[in-house]
Symmetry: C2
Subunit: 304 residues, 2 copies
DNA sequence: TTGCTTCCATATCTTTTTCGTATAGGATGG
DNA sequence: CCATCCTATACGAAAAAGATATGGAAGCAA
């Protein structure tokens, strides 16, 4: 079976014009090189060189094979380099699925990661937590970014720092203070994020309202943060969302106010298929994501 | 060092989806295949598969490498096939240098050879015997076709059948008989082939004239048969050339007559660089050339 | 859950291949 | 004609690849 080693040997001999010099260049002794060449010629069934007294000269088939061999070796090197680049995360594609309320993290992370690894391209998918998990299971995405809680049986869950919820009101609404209490929401129609499948933030917010002694008036539930916020901008009602959600989708016509008497935190996480090999680009991206999330959490504390 | 064998193994595993089946297909045991794969992954520094319970699944770098590897293996096969084709003479290029007075042989040989090996292309060079030898020495041509005698020290000489000389006269010249004697040339201005370097047919014809008791009146000597014959066609004089020479360059305005009282033969030969590997196409071509020359000689005898 | 099956990984031994040293043979040039 | 340079062959040593035996994890069925 023809071997890469034989190709390298052959190419070197062809370029050096003699076996002895080629052997030196290859850091092997001369006899084995003679043998390898002989073996290659036998495998091909074709003499590759005319053995002249002072120099080996390529035959017609030899010339043709030299060109091919050189090309093949170069392509092999390329292939190896590319594989390593993909592994190192300096090239390749990263597929990420993200719930909309976490796009702020994602956008920041992509921006920072792109500075480190400009050759990595992204495929983004959007959906609610359930569908993101589904995509991950189907291997359509490498990383999912979702809101907790989730059923974590099949995934590695990398928790991101929790963040506070904020109240979002139509800009024209009058409020006495520059901040809100949970009790304020008792009188307003509420628009809330709600997963299509399973329990999540929605249930948590309802729970919090009840803890503050009122049953919320939920006008609309919707799984998509941008739709929700645009409805708020239309003046339909107020909503309670994680802070980062409005950091990205800060539409005109809404105002964002702190809720001072609630310690609810929205938790997000990056999730991974446990059984799957993760390219280094993905691992690096996760680091970046965590850094971004941590900084966002820090800023939040400062504001407070 | 990455090995073709490893690539084949890897591709097979990738296609079979599991090591055990791949090992069966490759006719080796399973453990060595596991080891080879492991080794390849170590050399690349990248895991190529996710080991899942029931099937091996390619990682992102693995997918990329699979495509490259498959392509490389195909190209290697192509390269080997091409080299063998060139060796077998079913492809490649054949460079031939030929003196003009032998082009008849060459044309016939090329025509027949082309039927056998339509993928072989030709590079033709023309010159006198000396320059053809020179081209062969410089490896600009694979085969030379020349008139004897030559200095045969450095070449393998493959003699072609000898052929008779014929007299060529301007068409308008009146001759009593349908054939000629050497003596007839005593009265005519002669145009003769003459090598630029060294001795050859010219000297032989002069010698033959003297043997017949006259000193030829050489009006013009010239190394190129077509020029010579066109001068004859212009009525400038007569010439004596090998029969095959006029067989190809039968210009209007000349007539060809047998010389009945001379047994001079013109000898041609194919010559080869002794120290050089000869592709099979060249060897096959030589066979065809000899067949063609032999048949030409046969026809000549019949005519006679 | 238990037991069975399937498949990958590891360990060890055997065989094959490859390499290095020593040496012979052929061509070239002074 | 000898010295030199290069290639080819012979043979022992080292390295690599393969086969067999075995262990362990995961799926599947009872």
């Amino acid at each position: 079976m023809i071997d890469v080693k034989q190709l390298k040997y052959f190419v070197t001999i062809a370029e050096e014009g003699q076996i002895t010099k080629a052997a030196q260049k290859l850091h092997i002794a001369q006899p084995p090189l003679s043998q390898q060449l002989k073996q290659l010629e036998e495998e091909l069934g074709v003499p590759l060189f005319d053995r002249k007294a002072k120099k080996m000269e390529l035959t017609a088939p030899g010339k043709a094979f030299y060109e091919k061999a050189k090309r093949l070796l170069a392509q092999l090197d390329d292939a190896v380099a590319e594989v390593k680049e993909i592994e190192e995360g300096t090239a390749g594609t990263l597929s990420i699925g993200c719930v909309k309320s976490c796009f702020y993290y994602l956008a920041q992370a992509i921006r920072h990661f792109h500075e480190q690894a400009p050759n990595v391209t992204f495929h983004l998918r959007e959906g609610d937590t359930f569908s993101i998990c589904q995509l991950l299971y189907e291997r359509r995405i490498d990383i999912g970014i979702v809101r907790l809680p989730i059923d974590s049986a099949d995934y590695d869950v990398i928790r991101l720092p929790g963040e506070r919820y904020v109240g979002v009101l139509p800009a024209q609404w009058k409020t006495g203070q520059p901040s809100l209490c949970m009790r304020d929401f008792a009188d307003w129609p509420l628009l809330l994020l709600h997963r299509v499948h399973g329990a999540g933030q929605y249930e948590r917010v309802i729970e919090e309202c009840r803890r503050h002694g009122f049953e919320p008036n939920v006008l609309c539930e919707c799984p998509d943060a941008t739709i929700l916020l645009s409805l708020v901008a239309q003046g339909l009602g107020a909503t309670i969302v994680p802070q980062s959600t409005v950091a990205l989708f800060r539409l005109p016509g809404i105002k964002v106010l702190e809720i001072i008497d609630s310690s609810m935190t929205a938790e997000a996480a990056a999730i991974l298929d446990r059984q799957r090999y993760l390219p280094k680009s993905a691992r690096t991206f996760l680091d970046v994501l965590q850094t971004v999330a941590a900084r966002a959490a820090g800023e939040q504390h400062e504001e407070r």
